[in-house]
């Protein structure tokens, strides 16, 4: 994908952003990680979060996936509240079941893969389509095999995850996330735990998804070339704030802030 293509290509019917953070605050005990954070991600947009470790990038993904609880503020997905809503000026937590309905639109791939070791590759992939979306096993298996084909692991359907290499496990994890047909895909340093020679396969799969689907992507990565190639927008975080943002060309070639320049020179 040419880096010049910087606008999301989806013609989404809804005018709501795919993801919207409104006055988000997140603290872990006395430590405030995110404060007064506001940003939106358009449907079909691919946004990369960069910044030094501890700047809150991963926390943002985890908040969207409801793996962390919001300390304050709101997150909206497709314009609908995710975990808390404002009811007549009062901040009210949504029922867990409602939040779970919302998260079916969101998929996440983790740094450590987190495949279920007690299930085969195929069982890993069909677990949620069968037990969350209510698909039949036959239908889910058929789709799972197509996804495995797509990530280049058609022959591993009946293998157990522990028998696979890290790169293969991560491609299964990507297939597992895609099996839920998510509108939003969160990628949390998905290549960081991989041996260097296995990174390429995983990134290749992700490039393919970026090129052939209109899934909204929010990614945290240290693979700057990959970020440059697939993102529409790059957001530089520091101290829980957006320091600067823009198209990858602008951020990588002509950063405005000294902090961004020094960060990029340390990772590139």
């Amino acid at each position: 994908m040419p880096p010049t293509e910087n606008t999301p290509t989806t013609a989404s019917a809804s005018s709501s952003p795919a993801i919207e953070f409104t006055d988000v605050e997140k603290s872990f005990g006395p430590t405030t990680v995110l404060k007064n954070l506001n940003f939106t991600v358009a449907p079909g947009e691919r946004v990369t979060l960069i910044g030094p470790s501890g700047s809150g990038k991963t926390t943002i993904l985890r908040l969207v996936m409801t793996l962390e609880e919001l300390t304050d503020g709101y997150i909206f997905v497709d314009g609908q509240p995710l975990t808390f809503e404002n009811r007549g000026g009062k901040r009210v937590e949504l029922p867990k079941k409602r939040t779970r309905e919302m998260t079916t639109r969101i998929g996440m791939v983790f740094q450590q893969f987190n495949l279920f070791p007690n299930m085969t590759v195929l069982e890993n992939i069909i677990e949620a389509p069968v037990h969350v979306l209510g698909k039949s096993k036959a239908e889910a298996s058929k789709e799972a095999k197509e996804l495995l084909e797509r990530v280049g692991l058609a022959d591993k359907a009946d293998a157990h995850p522990t028998r696979l290499s890290g790169g293969q496990q991560q491609r299964v994890a990507i297939a597992r996330a895609l099996a839920m047909s998510p509108e939003i895909l969160l990628l949390d340093e998905v290549t960081s735990a991989l041996d260097p020679e296995l990174v390429g396969d995983v990134l290749g799969v992700l490039r393919d998804i970026a090129e052939t689907t209109d899934i909204t992507m929010l990614l945290v990565t240290h693979e700057m070339q990959f970020a440059r190639d697939v993102s529409h927008r790059v957001m530089m975080f520091d101290g829980g704030q957006v320091l600067e943002e823009g198209p990858p060309d602008q951020i990588f070639n002509n950063p405005q802030h000294e902090r961004t320049r020094s960060f990029l020179s340390s990772v590139l």
Binding site: L67, T104, F110, N114, A128, M180
Partner: protein
Amino acid sequence: MWNWEFAVEALPILLRGFVNTLIATVVGTVIAAILGLILAVAIRGLPRWINWLVRLLVAFVRNTPLVVQLLFVYYAFSDIPGLVDVPALVIGFIVIGIHYSTYMSESYRAGIDSVPPGQFEAATALSLPPVRTFTAIVLPQALRATIPSLGNYAVAMFKDTPFLFAISVVELVTAAKNFGGSTFAYTEAFTLAGIIFLAASYPTSLLIQRLDRRLATY
């Protein structure tokens, strides 16, 4: 000294007693395994005061001797009309099962705690409901870590069954004692009893060790 005639005579009597030992162990283990899981899991969602009450009962069961519990239940419940006819063996495996459930619940809890947080996070990311997450992901992984220790408790329970003599269940050791009492062939009777115990529990321990190794990897 050692009399082979007595030994041959004792063996079928002892094996009949051993049947009661086995029944108490197997049924007791089933009760302990199920109740232990309930103690480890189900009480988490209960109101605080029930939780507190259960924990008090668990502490009570763990900190009093099994014999005392057997005698207490045997005599206390024999006063209740309608329960008079409950066989001592039934009281035996229920009490021994409850006793060991308090230990097995700890094994379950440790097993559940050994499931990495990433597994729960992946389940959340897939929007799996809590019950499905527990039954399909957490429990199968926790059991791998738990089953060997449940097996060890089952062997320990097996070796505790002689306490059932206190409530007049004729298990292996009581059968040996009775045989000795009527023939004075105590040496033959108890030697055989020991051999039968060894013959049953040693292979079981080896089996558990092998199981442990097999469960360690997927």
